[in-house]
């Protein structure tokens, strides 16, 4: 399932996939795969992404 909330939060902060990838120490393709729903990140990576984007885990990764 696509993670549109992550994409929206990233775009909201005017960050490219490359910018976010550098900030959390992964490749751009990994951020792309998470947004497309092709890869389930570990909790550590989720936390890193949340810290950079100023969001909570629930806001970005909890599926209703």
């Amino acid at each position: 399932m696509k993670n549109l909330r992550l994409k929206a939060a990233r775009a909201g902060m005017d960050l490219s996939q490359e910018d976010l990838a550098k900030a959390v120490g992964v490749s751009r393709q990994t951020i792309s795969a998470i947004e497309k729903g092709d890869y389930n990140p570990t909790i550590n990576l989720c936390i890193s992404i949340c810290k950079v984007l100023g969001k909570t885990l629930d806001e970005l990764f909890w599926e209703e």
């Binding site: 120490g25 992964v26 490749s27 393709q29 990994t30 795969a33 890869y39 990140p41 570990t42 550590n44 990576l45």
Partner: protein
């Protein structure tokens, strides 16, 4: 120990030294270890698995071939290296197309130059052996055939990276 065995040992030692030097050169931080993120490490794990099974399968097929009236024919002792090349190509190809090949600290221009250099170097050795003799002896392929395989391997690798880059550009 004969001249050929000594040549192989020296070749392997030179190869290891070359790999160490190249790894330090192609990584932006000057470290030998290439860094990968968690998704890439997972992809690489899968790639090693597929590469291993491909090598086992290639080995089994060659074993069957060796029991037929054709035998290993022109390949001679170089036949031992074919499953290794098959395994490496499968491993690398899977990594490239799943974005697990290029590390986080890889300097791409230097990486591509290194591959071109290694490929050209191996082709040079193979072509020199073809011209001077020593590529085939007594109807059996010799060590320079492995250099030809290496040259082809790095061209395939570069082509796959190029295709993947085009695919990524179209996908963005």
């Amino acid at each position: 120990m004969n001249f050929r065995s000594l040549g192989f040992i020296i070749g392997i030692i030179v190869g290891i030294i070359l790999v160490i030097v190249l790894l330090k050169a192609i990584n932006r931080d000057g470290k030998m270890k290439t860094k990968y993120d968690e998704r890439q490490l997972r992809v690489r794990g899968d790639a090693y698995k597929f590469g291993f099974f491909a090598a086992v399968l290639a080995n089994a097929l060659l074993l069957v071939l060796s029991t037929t009236e054709y035998g290993v024919g022109i390949f001679g002792y170089t036949v031992f290296f074919i499953p290794i090349f098959v395994g490496i190509i499968v491993q690398i190809s899977y990594c490239i197309f799943k974005d697990g090949y290029v590390g986080l600290n890889t300097n791409m221009p230097r990486f591509m130059i290194s591959m071109a250099f290694i490929s050209a170097f191996n082709f040079f050795i193979a072509i020199m052996a073809m011209v001077r003799g020593g590529f085939i002896e007594d109807g059996v392929l010799q060590a320079p055939f492995l250099n030809l395989l290496c040259g082809i391997l790095f061209i395939v690798l570069a082509a796959e990276i190029g295709i993947k880059m085009i695919m990524d550009q179209k996908g963005e």
